[in-house]
């Protein structure tokens, strides 16, 4: 090819890739603009603190906010110990090239790819119909108590879904703790578990927090897994016990978007709900990014 043609072809192809990147960013911008344009004016203190009224055609989203918060809190309590300890096993305890460790890694990678709706089925089939039913039988409940959709089962389902997120971030955090610190601790006569508790985990804490925040952000936005495990269309009361159903921002969005009798009337409500949900997840992601960059910078400047 002649030099000039080569340059033209190259330049146009490079611009093509630039265009692709631009389109992706533009789509994000479009979504954000549309949501903010449609929702910003409707967000108010009242909207955030009131219950829905008029058959969900008016009022606020407080029960959905509360339900989302309670759900993700329970989920975090369940997923963090398991996720962190699994990562600790993989990085600190497992023999290198161990078969179990490899199996755990493969399982975790595959768990991350299981469709979220399948997690919903799993939550129904395992937590509600198997564990819940078993509990009811064991505890002597005559009517359904645990064997029904509720916030505990929904949060545990989400905990299984977010497990890979926590494991992967924690392992990255453990990798960032210098080996020096472990050997120094062991040389001073600390046991492995003392080294873990006093040196390794404190050193990995920012990364573990990043994992927690990412898991919360993921868990707060997932709707499919909670469809059959506890999310409610409308509830006048906040969830009061672990087997109560709950309202949820994401599910509320789905309901408002697809099941409203009057689309135009609910539009501002819908947009405002979406905006709150987006702000929530973006804020969480931003926190995660900030923790991560801060620790990376620290790690780079330390020593």
């Amino acid at each position: 090819m002649k030099h000039a043609t080569r340059r033209v072809v190259g330049l146009s192809l490079v611009s093509l890739t630039g265009l692709a990147a631009f389109v992706i960013v533009a789509m994000l911008a479009l979504i954000l603009l549309d949501v903010v344009k449609g929702g910003a004016s409707h967000i108010s203190w009242k909207f955030l603190t009131e219950s829905p009224t008029d058959g969900m055609m008016g009022g606020g989203i407080f029960p959905a906010l509360f339900g989302t918060a309670a759900l993700t809190l329970l989920m975090t309590l369940a997923v963090m110990p398991v996720g962190v300890l699994t990562a600790v096993y993989l990085h600190e305890y497992a023999p290198p090239d161990g078969k179990l460790a490899r199996a755990v890694r493969v399982a975790v990678a595959n768990l991350a790819g299981v469709p979220s709706i399948v997690f919903g089925l799993f939550g129904l089939g395992f937590f509600i119909l198997f564990v819940g039913k078993g509990l009811d039988r064991a505890l002597g409940y005559e009517e359904l108590h645990w064997a029904q959709p509720g916030i505990l089962w929904a949060s545990l389902t989400l905990a299984v879904l977010t497990l890979p997120v926590v494991i992967v971030s924690t392992e990255e955090a453990l990798r960032a703790v210098p080996l020096d610190h472990r050997t120094a601790s062991l040389a001073l006569g600390a046991t492995q578990s003392q080294t873990l508790a006093r040196v390794v985990l404190p050193g990995a804490l920012p990364g573990i927090l990043t994992g927690a925040v990412l898991a919360i952000s993921r868990g707060a936005g997932e709707v499919a897994p909670i469809l059959f495990t506890g999310a409610a269309y409308f509830l006048p009361d906040l969830p009061s016990s672990l087997n109560s159903q709950f309202m949820h921002l994401g599910y509320h969005t789905y309901v408002l978007a697809t099941q409203s009798p009057d689309v135009e009337a609910t539009r501002p409500l819908l947009y405002a709900t979406v905006m709150v949900l987006l702000l929530l997840t973006f804020a969480l992601n931003l926190v995660a990014v900030l923790i991560r960059t801060r620790t990376r910078r620290k790690a780079a400047s330390g020593h």
């Binding site: 080569r6 072809v9 190259g10 330049l11 890739t17 630039g18 692709a20 990147a21 389109v23 992706i24 960013v25 789509m27 994000l28 549309d34 949501v35 398991v82 300890l85 600790v88 096993y89 199996a103 755990v104 975790v108 990678a109 595959n110 768990l111 991350a112 790819g113 299981v114 469709p115 979220s116 399948v118 919903g120 089925l121 799993f122 129904l124 089939g125 395992f126 119909l129 198997f130 497990l163 890979p164 492995q192 578990s193 952000s217 936005g221 997932e222 709707v223 499919a224 059959f228 599910y251 969005t253 789905y254 697809t258 539009r267 979406v274 949900l277 997840t281 973006f282 992601n285 990014v289």
Partner: protein
């Protein structure tokens, strides 16, 4: 050779003394350490257990399709996968109508629906994701790249229900006006919504694969007089090819399993046609839409779980493939040679 004897003598090495017992304190400490190690190992089984339990319990609820005579009658595999007589005098057809006098349970319309939305999304997301990643990894100035990556992470952080909302409220109307679709919600709308969800997946995994290619590859190519584009196309892309394939497979798996976007934007009509402008019903959306009204233990209920098993297996195979290919790119680049 060394004169070991001389070395020993010079140092006056003494014989060992008798061994006392392990102190009780040390024994307690060792026991505690062992307990902790066992606990941590036991917890590590959770990930494996979760994966196995998911398959077992989703399959368990679908089991009545095989074990129960009534269910086997209503939803046999031939009824699921072969064309059936729907109405007398009409040709055989594939119909999904599980709630009706005579339930029709053909999975073919659902497969077609899933394939159509997935195909549309891949058609858009693969070039966008790969080209975008190529731009970020090869051509973008540093500052731009540092903005680009977090932006795409932000896109990845958008909950799928929000993408479904956007497809339903904004894209559907726009696309209908532009292309004149007869049904407002269709495979194209759902597919484009899906594309928004899988572009970040493809972008991120591709970008990782591209940046894993050693700088020396690029320098060698540029030194031979190749332009940056030729270097990217003929050297970097082939080196990262398995990783990019893995990216596409992961995106494909995500698209097949994604629920809320399709549920909200596809129209949910189980139509068997080749027209992308028709409404479609995907496997995942079928579960989401019908599980709420189904009688626990009925053939229809078991069928929905059976769809779950199918989705699990599809994505499992795709993930394993992606894992193998990702490993391949790492090995290849570590080994140096192709």
């Amino acid at each position: 050779m060394l004169d070991r004897q001389a070395v020993m003598q010079e140092q006056d090495l003494a014989p060992p003394v008798a061994l006392p017992m392990l102190s009780p304190e040390a024994r307690r400490r060792q026991l505690k350490e062992k307990l902790i190690a066992w606990t941590i190992t036991a917890v590590a089984f959770t990930g494996i257990a979760a994966l196995v339990l998911i398959l077992v319990f989703v399959a368990k609820e679908a089991l009545s399709l095989v074990t129960d005579t009534a269910a086997r009658e209503e939803a046999s595999f031939s009824k699921m996968f072969l064309p059936q007589l729907v109405r007398k005098g009409k040709p055989l057809a594939y119909v999904w109508q599980p709630v009706s006098g005579v339930p029709k349970v053909s999975m073919i319309p659902l497969f077609i629906g899933t394939l159509k939305t997935t195909a549309v999304s891949m058609l858009v997301a693969v070039p966008l994701g790969i080209f975008g990643a190529l731009f970020a990894a090869e051509f973008a100035p540093r500052r731009l790249r540092e903005v680009l990556k977090p932006t795409i992470e932000l896109l990845a952080g958008i909950p799928s229900v929000v993408l479904g909302f956007f497809a339903l409220m904004v894209m559907a109307s726009f696309l209908q006006e532009t292309f004149g679709f007869t049904s407002r919600l269709n495979a194209v709308v759902a597919g484009l919504g899906l594309a928004l969800a899988i572009v970040p997946v493809i972008f991120t995994v591709t970008e990782d694969a591209l940046t894993a290619v050693p700088r020396s590859y690029r320098e060698a190519s540029l030194a031979l007089g190749a332009t940056p584009w030729e270097t990217a196309w003929k050297v970097v892309l082939p080196a990262a090819a398995p990783g990019i394939l893995a990216a596409c497979v992961l995106g494909f798996g995500r698209a097949i399993g994604e629920t809320m976007i399709v549920l909200m934007a596809s129209g949910n009509a189980a139509i068997t046609s080749a027209n992308l402008g028709d409404s479609v019903r995907s496997l995942s959306a079928t579960i989401a839409a019908e599980m709420g009204e189904v009688v626990v233990g009925s053939p229809h209920y078991a069928l929905l779980f059976f769809i779950g098993v199918e989705l699990f297996l599809f994505t499992f195979v795709l993930n394993m493939l992606a894992g193998i290919w990702t490993k391949k790119v790492i090995q290849r680049l570590k080994g140096g040679a192709g």
